[in-house]
Amino acid sequence: MSLYSSAVKNPISTALIFVAIAILGIFAFTKLPIDLYPHIESNSIMVMTSYAGASASDIESNVTKPIENTLNSVSYLKHITSQSKENISVVTCEFKYGRDIDVATNDIRDKLEMVKSSLPDAAGNPVIFKFSSDDIPIIILSVTADESMPGLYKLLDDKVVNTLARTPGVGSVSIMGVPKREIKVYCDPYKLDAYNIPIESIASIIGTENLNMPAGSIDIGSNNYSLRVQKEFGSAQEIENIVVGSYGGRTVYLRDVAKVIDGMEERSQESYINGKKGGMIIIQKQTGANSVEIARQVEKMLPQIENTLPSDVKLGEIVNTSDNIVRTIGSLKETIFITLVLVMLVVFVFLGRWRATLIIVTTIPVSLLASMAYLFATGNTLNIISMSSLSIAIGMVVDDAIVVLENVTTHIERGSSPKQAAVDASNEFALSVVASTLRVLAVFLPLTMISGLSGIMFRQLGWMVSIIMVVSLLCALALTPMMCSQMLRLKNKKTKMHEVLFTPIDKGLNALNRGYAKLLNWAVHHRRQVVFIATGIFVGVLGICGPFMKSEFFPQQDNARISVKVELPVGTRQEITRDFALKLQQRFAKLEPEIEKSSVSEGTADSDNLFASLQSNGSNIINFNIRLCSVEKRKRGLTELSDILRNELALYPQIRKSQVIAGGQQGGMGGQQGVEIDIYGYDFDATDAAAQEVVKQFKSFKGVQQVLISRDAYTPEYRVNLDREKVAINGLNTATVSQYLRNRINGATASEFREEGDEYDIRVRYAPEFRQSIEDIENITVYNSQGKGIKIRELGKVEEAMTPPTIERKDRQRFISVTAALPKGMASSDLLNGIQQKLNKVHFPSGISWQVGGTYEDQKDMYSDLFTLLLLIVLLVFIVMAAQFESLTYPFVIMMAIPFAFVGVVIGLVLSGTPMSVMAMIGVIMLIGIVVKNGIVLVDYTNLQRERGMGITQAVVTAGHSRLRPVLMTTLTTVLGMIPLAIGTGEGSEMWRGMGLTVAWGLSVSTVITLVLVPTVYAIFAGNGIKHQRKKDKKRIKALEIATAAVTVSEKSLKIKI
């Protein structure tokens, strides 16, 4: 028994099966986590190798090169880049997307085992480090305080960090910009020299005095007692009273040679939030955890945490990546809802009956919810891709159901009982409905098979739409017939309201129908002209609009975040940096009232704060984190606001380097878009000059403000140049001298001061006033093994020197990258083509070459993947249609619609000024499956009319006349389904706008043109076919005549012979 007849016979089971599917979907929907994109596993692995004391070029030749040469043979490697700087080599292997990163890590580990023996002996073991997008902080909280500032670190550490770190999914929580408590022992070098006490012995005495030690246990009488020495410092003052030596028979106390200060650490990062001193708390997630879920939990905990803090300590949010995700998905949900309503309206207007509308519309939630079950079962998330799939599918799922319902109605009108009509009608159209679903699958299933980044991005889209289409087919063949048999009635009484509402619509549609029939009649009688006009439109539009087409990788998403990095000259004192940072913060706030919260941090990060120390930091570096108000509340976009900040920063001559990153991240999906030129060449000076030339060329474009060179300039520093001979004569060695230097300037951590379960460093060093000049350094006393003090000046010279920059290599060649950020209104293709043209004219010295770098390669790969896919899909769609019609001509005629879909896409993109992006490209691919639909309906019905005995011209016109309504209806459901995507202004709408635009424009334009062109071309081909057939027939008749004549002649001759 067929599906539809058993469905009609068993309405209860059928209904309940679909209800079960829907319930499963709803369950999955409520459980599905939210994210911005499908999970993209990191594709980079870093190998860090330290080699203390080696310069950048030593590191390059002794460490980086051997590692690079070995790792280069790891499979699936895309690029190998490296940075060689003083003391450390960092080699980064970038793998092709989709490569299992754990396998890659193992490969790298194996290769490193091989290379270890050829590294210098003093080089450390190479350490493998995986950095993924999971390490990017998901929430940054701001903390402001007044009176509690001095104890803030402990307060935050106890009350906030510990509580937040306990939240499931939270990876690490760190405090930034709040100085830690430190017990500082500031020594006076003159007094130390006078008493002949080196800092080292003070540090070791403090260490040995600050002690609690168990001494065992003793039995006294019948009891057993444990014995302890408990002499840990109870307060900072206690430290001052320890004895550090004796001089001339008198005891020297620490207070005689040093001050002990219980205060904050000296060099630390400071933060200001909206001009007020405070700190930041950085929350990172565990790998694979869901940011939105964590953010929700953190937000829930914050008020509770705030209650436990003193009243002057205020917590706020600076960055919350989940905000953007939640709002983006929210606006997408809204879009889907609008789409649903629009599709319902279209169906209602065209069918004019609420029962029929209800039957059709029921298929939408059922099919969409089924795909939710898929997402849940495969561990995916609700993200931009999966949600857009829903939006795309809404307009298409109703098509099959409409075809079936229309036919059931025809049968009922003829007199069948609804039950019988439902079975017969479904039977008649089952094949063509299956074929149309197959055609859609031919478009979307290949999407599930592509590899690389496009694979990760669009696999979900492919699966989602395929599943939705298959479920909608099941609906059309089971649920729709069943509902028709139960709900449709023969005598449909028309109410007055109905008449008032639908008579004008009906009249309008009829007039349209008549007009179209007239047009079609003209077209089939003027076939050449029609083909000529169509070709003209195609060539004309592509010729005129084509050159204005722009392209980009992914649209820049307005996520209301800007980060700014400002570098002042190296060596700028922290106080000056701080003043400048605060001044900038004020200026920014004045320039852009859209700024909701701006936090700025400057200073050297604490080395045990992993996140802060990974970011560039220093007393001359200022980092801004700016949060803008939401997109709906402001007129100026992210790019425009970033441009304003860039212009402002350009006004300050003291800024050595500045970078404004719109969106807080560069490149990739939704991040700031730019164009990167990589310059390859060995010679530093030559490549520097070439880089400057590229910068000049970039700046010649109007609006381009921010161009950055990856290589730093030589930076100044002081070096203590020791004379080995003098060092040796004095019974010292370089290691000892440098250790002494470090202990005096940086300080020696003598011990830990313990209080209430927390530990604070006790750091012994020179008092600040004794380490301020070269002379101070030269006057440092170093003691040799005989206890004799020798000044640094006697051992060597303190000189000012320039440190060579980091040596960067890509694919085993030295390179520098020059990156220009895109200003407002410029697409990446504009700048890219422009700069390529200009650079082609520039003559670079031999040995210097350049290439477009950055995300351009990913973009190229993705576009070429998608183009291949496009061709494959065209072929597959052709095959499906050829099988459906059992003809090679008709699919060809129907495919006439595809070029005009491109025409529509070009017009749409150029008119709206939207560049072609990967998302728009996906729209184009989808179009192939969608635009042929109208052609199929027309050709199929024309064939039917011809089989029923009509001539070509009459068949074409009749078919057009009777199929205009269904064509318009299915087209409108799809186009209106896309319009909310195309014109959406909500957060994140930039991402799917391109896709909505391409589908809406492509389908509309191609529908208008194919409605005339396809019947005309059909008439041409069918006409030719008939002519051909007639010729063949004539030939056959002639041959027959000749044969008959020959037979007659031979008969005659036979008779004569007889």
Binding site: H411, E413, R414, G415, S416, S417, K419, Q420, A421, D424, E428, N943, L944, E947, R948
Partner: protein, 95 residues
């Protein structure tokens, strides 16, 4: 004893069975999904792409007395839904 041959659009099947039930006629043979075309304004029922509908036919044997009522009921059904199509033929047979 008469033989009644009726051929009709398959949609009529349930209604005709109901008529047989009502007229208390028990003996019949049914062919489902038969192709054919009527002689008066006959739209073809070929189950093809162009003519997708199909016919059914029933051969009924009934006593002479019951035939008139049956014929009348069947023709009533036909006039009720002229678009579907139903034809009835009778002839005398030996048992």
């Amino acid at each position: 004893m008469k033989a009644i041959f009726t051929t009709f659009n398959e949609a009529h099947y349930d209604a005709i069975l109901a008529i047989l039930e009502k007229t208390n006629i028990k003996g019949f043979t049914n062919w489902e999904q038969v192709r054919g075309r009527g002689s008066i304004n006959g739209e073809p029922h070929y189950g093809s792409h162009a003519w997708p509908t199909m016919n059914s036919s029933i051969l009924i044997f009934a006593p002479d007395a019951d035939v008139a009522d049956l014929r009348k009921r069947l023709l009533d059904l036909d006039s009720q839904f002229p678009a579907l199509g139903l034809r009835v033929f009778t002839w005398t047979v030996d048992e």
